[in-house]
Amino acid sequence: MRQLEMEICENVTSKKASMEGLRKFLGALPFLGPFLFLIILFYLVPVTLTFVMSLTSMDYVLEWKFVGLENYLRFFQDSGVKTVVLNTVKYVFFTLIINVGFGFLLAIATSYFIRNENIRLLFQTIWMLPRMTPPVVYALLWLWFLDPTEAGMLNSFLGKLFGIPAQNWILNNPMKVVIIANGLIGASLGMVVFSAAIKSIPVDYFRAANVDGASDWQIIRYVIIPFLKWPIMFMTIWQTLSLITSYEYILLITDGGPLNKSEVWSLFSYHKAFSNYEFGYGAAISMVLVLIAVLIAILMLKVFGYDAIMRRGNVDGMRGEAGDESNKNHVAV
């Protein structure tokens, strides 16, 4: 990224020499002004500030007291960090499996096996529900479903059917709960993206396979999966990036508890900053996470190439060689 920035900066400065360039830039400014203003104020400034803050012992008084690398040293010695890092790895890994794996199965089921347009739409809509539901309501549904009393949905269900005594699911399995809850949200994204990719496979391939007497399994293995290689890779990296920094649903469902058992990295930083008011320390924790996220982002750009992503837009890198113009996809939520 740094390299890219420098390269572009040079580009910019060399062009600035010519008045023509400046004139053109000023011409674009009425269009770009508000965009640049907001991006600078709420992206570039905070990025810089986070770094500077991480070198201070800032608390709720918001005073800049520089302490050098103390926060970072503290982070690497903090006994709680080990749990948090381990939780994050577990969380990202297993949620990713649900996001990509289950999303893939849903896409195959809805886009390949179901031929009836309405039924397909019905199922896809059902799976979009968790994603479109406001996080607070989604969390409420989970709290209700896993209510620890005997009246709780899962408890009464298991109790009546199998005679299993009521238990406190969230307290006993906090990590599993947050993984599944987040997994379902991501699975719908996987479903949508993979479905679009499946639909963009030229029908001829399926016809040819049918003529050759291929079974469903063979069609999936030799026609669909090769076409989906690119989307699956993209999805994996994209979701990894989103997951290592996501914490909203965890905050709402377990809030990292009990006793840090479901505390992940980003939530840890959030708690340090907004529960303990240790802004400096919280910023340092974020900075380390950002570093990891940037490394993954660079990996993503390396694997897919700037050009592929630039040309096709965002998630669109995934279409790979399966080119049907009408089937662009992207992610807004």
Binding site: L4, N11, K16, G21, L22, F25, A28, P30, L32, P34, F35, L38, I39, F42, Y43, V47, T48, T50, A109, I114, L121, T125, I126, W127, L129, P134, P135, V136, V137, A139, L140, L141, W144, D147, T149, F157, V193, S195, D216, T245, E248, L251, S266, S269, A273, F274, G282, A283, S286, L289, A293, A297, M310, R312, N314, D316, K328, H330, A332, V333
Partner: protein, 282 residues
């Protein structure tokens, strides 16, 4: 293909399996509905007798012990204001910027395009602490406007990329014609180009609104005064106090909060998939 085709056993199995895994989701949303209109449920979701008591937050105060909850209407208004402003600003700014990035040539364009995509991958959480400082510095902490600006800024990269994709599709001839007729660049943008991409604008607007309406973390973190609460924060507080006491009340409040989302699903049943995941070029 033949008109009547008997489904193969494996296909039936897939249908059943899909129905089985989808069932809990349907079940949960059915509960939200039936739980809101009844105090007693059979089999989890079948209401036994109907009551409007759970919806009492619409016309009376919610109290627990000595604690009195805020009236829901000003809070709903706050949420509308928040989501509405986010939509307006996000659409307007991304339309302007998307146009420049798609159809103008200027130094630094490539840099902006690439940075934008990197920014989208940049974790919002890492910025949260610094954003607190920035908001505080510009006097926007504890104000809805502050949350609006942040949310718009964070969603701009994505929205701008989408809009840029729409602009890319419009042939230059149309725009040249406008200049021939004496339009300025801004006039051409407003009068000639924008009408061409109305469906795209609608899609961006709808998703901006829903994202603003569902917004939780920034309101929760940056707003402290109860008069500036949004529905998300209100509901979160309600859940905190009533979780083990009154699921009926929570279901009703949750459903109330979900009205725009439900409306969206009902209206755009079919176009949902095509607008959002089909027609947009990156």
């Amino acid at each position: 293909m033949k008109a009547i085709k008997i489904m193969s056993p494996s296909r039936i199995a897939i249908y059943l399996l899909l129905a089985a895994v989808s069932f809990p989701i349907v079940f949960a949303y059915l509960w939200l509905f039936s739980g809101s209109i009844s105090d007693e449920l059979e089999f989890g979701i079948v209401p036994k007798g109907i009551t409007l008591e759970n919806w009492r937050f619409l016309w009376s105060e919610i109290t627990i012990g000595t604690k009195v909850f805020e009236n829901i209407w000003p809070i709903t208004l706050n949420s509308l204001l928040l989501a509405g402003s986010i939509t307006l600003l996000e659409v307007l700014i991304s339309l302007l910027a998307g146009y420049a990035l798609s159809r103008m040539n200027f130094p630094g364009k490539d840099f902006i395009l690439k940075t934008t995509i990197i920014l989208h991958a940049f974790p919002g959480v890492a910025l949260l602490i610094a954003l607190y400082y920035v908001l505080n510095y510009i006097g926007m902490i504890d104000k809805i406007a502050g949350v609006v600006l942040i949310k718009v800024a964070l969603e701009l990269p994505m929205a701008t990329w989408m809009i840029k994709g729409f602009f890319d599709e419009i042939p230059w001839e149309i725009e040249w014609a406008a200049y021939m007729d004496g339009c300025s660049r801004l006039q051409a943008w407003y009068k000639i180009i924008l009408p061409q991409i109305k469906p795209g604008i609608a899609a961006v607007a709808i998703f901006a609104f829903l994202a603003g309406w569902s917004e939780f973390i920034y309101s929760y973190t940056f707003i402290f005064s109860s008069e500036n609460y949004t529905l998300a924060v209100f509901l979160k507080n309600l859940i905190g106090d009533f979780r083990f006491l009154d699921y009926g009340l929570l279901a009703a409040a949750g459903l109330f909060y979900m009205i725009p989302v439900i409306a969206f699903f009902l209206i755009s049943q079919k176009s949902l998939m095509t607008i959002k995941f089909g027609g947009i070029k990156g």
